[in-house]
Symmetry: C2
């Protein structure tokens, strides 16, 4: 069993599940599905002793205190504090530069839900084996709908435990998403990656030399304070931010994927959260959380309140969210647009 170094990313601006998620308390730190917060679940999935080394968390300063509290009990756990938000590629490269070059790192978002952690861990081992053969490995999620908000991966030649990636496609239009779904050759890019730390830095140097150089400078000029590592601000701030997909995965000749059938959801909006909680719904598909909710003649309603009673009549496929003095009512179909509301973007 290959030892895997978990790298947990805590980013995101907290607009997609507004008004529950806020900048001060974004999605990873909310108890949404299952036990504890999504961040706590992400930590539990890679608990040391099942092939995992102690985790490294990469997060902004705003949430450092909260994260350190939760890491306190885990010997060897570390927190890398991003000087500023520069998207996933620099965050991942920071972690890679702090790990031994031959360490296999597993990059995990902390704001996804995974219903089957055992399947996750099996996929992680398969990905680690490919990473040791110098593949940059992405977890592929079997699509169950023609989602236009995700990146897609087309499978190429089979490899041991996975497939080469023939190509990446970012957020296709609906017609293409339907085609991909029908073809059976495409997976969603789940945002979970495995690679050797040294290999990732080599590829970054090849495809984004400036970013790689500035990350190295930020690490060289950084400072360890107990479990925290504080990269140097100036070089990190000078990075042109980019996602790991654009910066590396779509450019490398060594991209691979492992299929991961693990009940994944990115809980990307209120409708997705309602889906992830669907087991708790009543016979009419209604779901209430957090306080008194009175429904009359409703179907497929998801109601969540932090106090005020919610009363609803005749609604179908609507989410009603009352949180922090804000009232949000959205159709399930409209849930993707919540982040663009004045309330969500102006918080």
């Amino acid at each position: 069993m290959t030892t895997i170094h978990p790298v947990i990313l805590c980013g995101g601006s907290g607009t997609r599940l507004w008004p529950l998620s806020r900048k001060a308390r974004p999605k990873p730190f909310l108890p949404l599905v299952g036990e504890g917060t999504l961040f706590e679940q992400a930590l539990r999935r890679v608990a040391p002793g099942e092939g995992f080394a102690a985790p490294m968390v990469v997060a902004g300063a705003a949430h450092a205190g909260l994260i350190l509290d939760q890491l306190g009990e885990m010997p060897g756990a570390r927190l890398v504090v991003e000087p500023c938000a520069r998207n996933t590629a620099p965050a991942i490269a920071l972690a890679a530069a702090l790990l031994p070059p031959d360490a296999v790192m597993l990059v995990c978002p902390s704001d996804h839900h995974i219903a089957d952690p055992q399947a996750f861990r099996a996929a992680a081992q398969a990905a680690a084996e490919l990473a040791l053969q110098d593949y940059l490995v992405s977890f592929g999620i079997a699509p169950d709908r023609p989602e236009t908000g995700y990146g897609y991966i087309e499978r190429g030649a089979p490899l041991a435990g996975g497939f080469a990636i023939a190509r990446f496609v970012e957020k296709p239009d609906l017609a293409r998403a339907q085609e991909y779904l029908a073809s059976g050759r495409f997976s969603w890019n789940g945002g979970i990656f495995a690679f050797r730390a040294g290999h990732l830095l080599e590829e970054l140097t090849a495809h984004r030399p400036d970013m790689a150089r500035l990350v190295r400078e930020a690490v060289a000029g950084g400072e360890a304070q107990g479990a925290r590592f504080l990269p140097a601000h100036e070089p990190f701030a000078a990075i042109a931010g980019d996602s790991i997909d654009y910066a590396v995965m779509e450019n490398t000749a060594r991209a691979a994927m492992v299929p991961a059938n693990m009940g994944w959801s990115d809980i990307g909006n209120w409708a997705a959260l309602a889906d992830a909680l669907a087991d708790g719904a009543d016979a009419a598909g209604n779901l209430a959380r957090g306080g008194q909710v009175d429904l009359d003649g409703c179907r497929g309603v998801f109601a969540l309140t932090d106090g005020p009673r919610i009363s609803a009549v005749g609604l179908e496929d609507v989410c009603v969210i009352v949180s922090g003095g804000e009232v949000l009512v959205t159709t399930r179909a409209g849930a993707q647009r919540v982040g663009k509301l004045p309330g969500a973007s102006g918080q």
Copy 2:
């Protein structure tokens, strides 16, 4: 011009526009449409000097203070305080017993909206003429939809300024309501009545002798305190409550109606209020009141808040009401059922 004695009824339990209307502040005392509260508008419509004597208001003790404040400026205005709620027939009979027998009284609910007060006053004069000929006159509203929540009046033989009433029909089913609408012979019973005070009491004595006797006892044993009249509690409480429609109008041989085309609405629920306010809606039929409301891709939404921001995405024909720490979301079609919600009935 016949002098008309306005009798304004302030009853109702305040559930239909919950959570804005409450027992402590029911519909007549809310500013909903136009200037001031519905009660203030009801007073203004019958302002003394345009053929109207000073008004008499019949209301429960809970709202006596509020009403007296508003009556203070009107010489001769009186408030009859119902000892308890016994529906409209006893309330109207109290007023009748306190007026001279030959006074023409005009009974007006205080929780309706009338867009055209001039048409109202013209109909009142026509009704008064019929009342002087000992008709019990109901205002007939031309129906514009097959409403199943109202009483209907079928027109009979023409009279000067109105029609005899062939029959009353209470809350028909949809098929019959559609038939009535198509026939052109039916009007809604608007709950506005005119009769000679003495004649009303004679008819009540004929059809509800016990009620008439107990009302007389309540008045004989009552007490005037300034502008207030307090009927005796015991006989009034002993009355079997009933509506004026059931107790008198449906039994008399002298029922008449005057057509009143005056932009009437009983604002019977949130959808009716949205309709009454429709002039203020935007091009998509959305209407916001009271605070910040952000809508994205909504049509026919009525949003009203007493503070918290309302944000909505993708809704169609939905009312979102935030008031007094309660959140109500109802389809327009479901608005009639709001009064049955636990919040509305349990306040």
